[in-house]
């Protein structure tokens, strides 16, 4: 059984090989996975688990999720603005009925909240 530190190290090397131009490449990911599975290193499941988490975190940083109560009218314009300013690859729009008014933007581990809920929270704390 190889140490946890070594597993993390392997997973990090796998992630490094899955990137092209600093972004996660799906073809490279499947290639890396095939290679690793064929070699069957010790603690494979744990390595894959760590790899999954690393890829997930990386993907989160590459995409922006915009949640709103209704469909956004100027989606195209917004997409262009976000891509220009942040350099992200994907921008997802989601209709969340829980948001009565306003919008919530999730970019990596940052959440920009301009929903009614957040504002009411501010009012109660003020």
């Amino acid at each position: 059984m190889i140490a946890k530190k070594k597993q993390i190290q392997i997973a990090k090397v796998m992630l490094k090989n899955s990137l092209s131009g600093g972004l996660v490449n799906s073809k490279l990911v499947s290639f890396v996975l095939r290679e690793v599975i064929s070699q069957r290193p010790q603690g494979l499941t744990k390595i894959l688990k760590v790899y999954r988490r690393l890829v997930e975190n990386k993907l989160k940083k590459e995409e922006i999720l915009i949640e709103s109560a209704q469909k956004v009218a100027n989606q195209k314009q917004l997409e262009q603005e976000f891509t220009k300013n942040t350099g992200v690859k994907r921008i997802n729009f989601k209709i969340n009925p829980k948001i009565v008014f306003g919008a919530k933007i999730t970019a990596g581990d940052w959440i920009y909240d301009a929903t009614l809920d957040a504002k009411l929270n501010q009012l109660t704390k003020a």
Binding site: R53, W110, Y112, A114, Q122, A126
Partner: protein, 550 residues
């Protein structure tokens, strides 16, 4: 104003804007420590907010995750839970309202006396005041214990370690000190770290019984609390003390005890997977205690003139002073009070070993009258201890040695003191003056306690002398005459003359040995005779060996 107008005004007042949160997700959690992914913007020692109003402290910032120690019920949290940064560091509520209360390290009340309303918060971790903010220790902090106030004086702003095995009266010394601060304008903070809850309850009951809770705050992180709480407790206690110091008041903080604090930090560090060193403690264990104790200070007058005195306690294992944590804390503090099991078992309580105990800065803060009477006490006691062991081997002792031994026995008796009966400084001085001047020499050793009582009763009636000593702070000719007059009525045998017993004894010594003192001469004689005897023996042995070879 109508209700609607009021609401409208409130809404106008509130600045509503979109919020930006830096969030993370729990990867794993256990034993009060969580690993969190995300939180890319978190700072070291920043508070992290978890669901259910639980908070944590970010301690380990690693490449792809953050190690967070959690305050409160971590068992409610699970993998995948979202947490967020708060932009705040750990703060504890401080203020006058805490006096008389028992609180946990985060300031939540534990005594069932309702919530504590404080408006001021102090950071738990703070850089100690620099050199220009301080002044030298110059005011004594009376413990009320004769053995300590005379031989190991503590000054306000000093850090004096109390060290010894378990059950030797370390906490008792601290409680006596707290009780003695009654009506002396010193706020006491007792920090219980990793102690049994029953013991904490006992401490509270003792302080309440002696009405010492009126100037005391208890910060409790018991053995049932998480290691995180135990780790933070002394810093919280220190922050509370600093508040009073900043207000220009005098505060005393007792850390009971730092051995358990080191254990708690070791646990947290190992769970955070920090590299371990000697005895599995992390590399920064010295800094853990030095940054805490360095916060004790006597502030310069232009910065308020307040003080924070620290009395850390260390529990040794089988009297081992050379273990890792004891040596660390000994080197950090300005002296130590060493309690010894042998003395305790011999009935000498407080079981202070005057040989190993020292106060590096307290001497400067000692009152002049105490210096006058206690100057030779420590030396006399040390000589007595040496002579006592020496006297075990022979019965033929000269008169001077015998009188020194007898005096020593009485000094030991005088230094004994029952628990929770601290003594004011004037009474202590009068008792020591009586002993130094031979008033107790004619009193049987078993009667020394009664003799002390008599002195105290007489002193209580002699208000003029008491007030004079209190005001003057030294023993001058007038005070000496008054003392001699007062004490002459107890012993009867002692005439009121200028020559004291000390002088008589010195005369005797001089007449018997013209050059050196009796003790050294006896030891020298003994050593010379033993050397001569040994040489003679070795000569005879070598001769007999030569003979046998022939």
């Amino acid at each position: 104003m109508s209700i609607l107008e009021d609401i409208e005004q409130q809404i106008n007042k509130a600045r509503l804007s979109s919020t930006a949160k830096n969030v993370g997700r729990i990867i794993e959690i256990g034993d009060g420590v969580a690993r969190v992914s995300g939180l890319s913007d978190v700072s070291s020692s920043e508070l992290v907010s978890f669901p259910y109003d639980i908070f944590g402290l970010a301690l380990n910032l690693e490449e792809d995750n953050v190690g967070v120690i959690i305050f409160g019920d971590w068992a409610r949290l699970k993998e995948g839970d979202v947490c967020q940064t708060t932009g705040r560091i750990l703060e504890v509520p401080v203020g006058e309202n805490l006096i008389g209360r028992v609180v946990d390290p985060l300031g939540k009340p534990l005594d069932g006396k309702g919530s504590v309303s404080t408006k001021t918060f102090y950071p738990a971790e703070k850089i100690a005041p620099g050199v220009i903010y301080r002044q030298r220790v110059n005011t004594p902090l009376q413990t009320g214990l004769k053995a300590i106030d005379s031989m190991i004086p503590i000054g306000r702003g000093q850090r004096e370690l109390i060290i010894g095995d378990r059950g030797l009266g370390k906490t008792a010394i601290c409680l006596d000190t707290i009780i003695n601060q009654k009506s002396k304008d010193v706020i006491c903070i007792y920090v219980a770290i990793g102690q049994k809850t029953s013991k904490i309850a006992q401490v509270v009951a003792t302080l309440e019984k002696h009405r010492a809770m009126d100037h005391t705050i208890i910060v409790a992180a018991s053995a049932s609390d998480s290691a995180t709480m135990q780790y933070v407790a002394p810093y919280a206690g220190c922050a509370i003390g600093e508040y009073f110091m900043d207000k220009g008041k005098d505060a005393l903080v007792i850390y009971d005890d730092l051995s358990k604090h080191a254990w708690a930090y070791r646990q947290v560090s190992l769970l955070l997977r920090r590299p371990s060193g000697r005895e599995a403690y992390p590399g920064d264990i010295f800094y853990l205690h030095s940054r805490l104790l360095e916060r004790a200070a006597k502030m310069a007058d232009k910065f308020g003139g307040g003080s924070l005195t620290a009395l850390p306690i260390i529990e040794t294992q089988a009297g081992d002073l050379s273990a890792y944590i004891p040596t660390n804390v000994i080197s950090i503090t300005d002296g130590q009070i060493y309690l010894e099991a042998e003395l305790f078992n011999a009935g000498i309580r407080p079981a202070v070993n005057p040989g190993l105990s020292v106060s590096r800065v307290g001497g400067a803060a000692q009152l002049k009258m105490m210096k006058q009477v206690a100057g030779s006490l420590r030396l006399d006691l040390a000589q007595y201890r040496e002579l006592a062991t020496f006297a075990q081997f022979g019965s033929d002792l000269d008169e001077a040695t015998l009188s020194r031994l007898e005096r020593g026995k009485r000094i030991v008796e005088v230094l004994k003191q029952p628990q929770f009966t601290p003594m004011d400084v004037v009474s202590q001085v009068v008792i020591f003056w009586a002993v130094n001047n031979g008033y107790s020499d004619s009193v049987p050793v078993s009667e020394v306690a009664n003799f002390q009582e008599k002195i105290l009763t007489l002193l209580a009636t002699n208000k003029k002398l008491k007030d004079y000593l209190e005001d003057k702070g030294e023993i001058d000719d007038f005070a000496e005459k008054e003392l001699a007059k007062m004490l002459g009525s107890i012993s009867g045998s002692k005439p009121i003359t200028e020559s004291t017993e000390n002088e008589k004894r010195a005369q005797k010594v001089h007449s018997s040995v013209p050059s050196k003192s009796s003790v050294t001469s006896v030891i020298k004689k003994q050593s010379v005779s033993s050397v001569v005897a040994r040489k003679a023996k070795s000569k005879s042995r070598s001769k007999s060996k030569k003979k046998s070879r022939r």
